[in-house]
């Protein structure tokens, strides 16, 4: 493997070949196909069970955003850009942030009884079940959504700028 790489570097027509090797590698693609759904499902699980087990919105969001990186490794920048749109991702991130603020301000909206910003006003359910802990559950979702779109957008931005440099 190592010698292989070296030979590529030493050969004069590196540019085209290195591009080819990045995109259509069977091993990487098939591995990615296996790993991708696992990453997404694990991320969703971590986000949903943030109030029950270690983890939460941030961790799950980053796990799902890792899928974008995996996609890039497997299918190259064109493949990623076909699936995701940077502007739309950024807009979704703002939506996530607005949702977070909205959930936090539920306390103000219900604020008749002296509730305040960030007050946990939704019914809390039985501790230990999935739909418990009031706003915490929903905040996990908002933050998870925000982080996955945000980190995805970040990866895409950096990747696309790297590619535009090469051309």
């Amino acid at each position: 493997m190592k010698s292989n790489k070296k030979s590529y570097k030493s050969s004069p027509s590196t540019n085209k070949k290195s591009k080819n090797i990045k995109v259509n590698d069977v091993i990487i693609t098939s591995c990615a196909n296996v790993v991708l759904p696992i990453a997404i499902i694990l991320g969703a699980y971590v986000i949903m069970h943030g109030h029950l087990s270690p983890g939460g919105g941030f961790q799950g969001g980053v796990l799902i955003a890792g899928a974008v990186a995996i996609l890039y490794v497997a299918y190259g920048s064109d493949g990623v850009r076909k699936l995701f749109n940077i502007t739309r991702l950024k807009a979704s991130e703002s939506m996530g942030a607005l949702g977070f603020i909205f959930i936090a301000s539920l306390g103000l909206i219900y604020g008749v009884g002296g509730y305040r910003f960030f007050a946990n006003t939704i019914s809390k359910g039985t501790p230990g079940t999935l739909f418990s802990s009031g706003t915490i559950f929903w905040m996990n979702f908002a933050v998870g959504y925000k982080v996955l779109t945000g980190i995805g957008a970040l990866i895409l931005i950096m990747v696309s700028s790297l590619n535009s440099n090469k051309e």
């Binding site: 809390k124 418990s132 802990s133 706003t135």
Partner: protein, 97 residues
Amino acid sequence: MKKAVVWFTITTLTVFAVYVSTKMISFGSSYNGIANVIVNDTVGKTGAINAVTAIVFDFRGYDTLGESFVLFTAITAAAAVLRKPVHSIISKGKGGK
């Protein structure tokens, strides 16, 4: 000269850091501080059995809000830095147009 300052800085900070770590509070058997209060009341007050999440999203939710804004800011800043620049935005000597 510069090297001497580097080594002076590194040595001083290391020495003081090691000295300070020996002076850090020795751990008692009971909690003290806000952790005590928080851990005792987490389930009853927030309904979350994960105390860390309860702190992150409820007790110190405002910090988490700030944290997600940091992420948002950093991503916006990265997008602004890496955006396609408009060259010669301020044209030289063309003022007054």
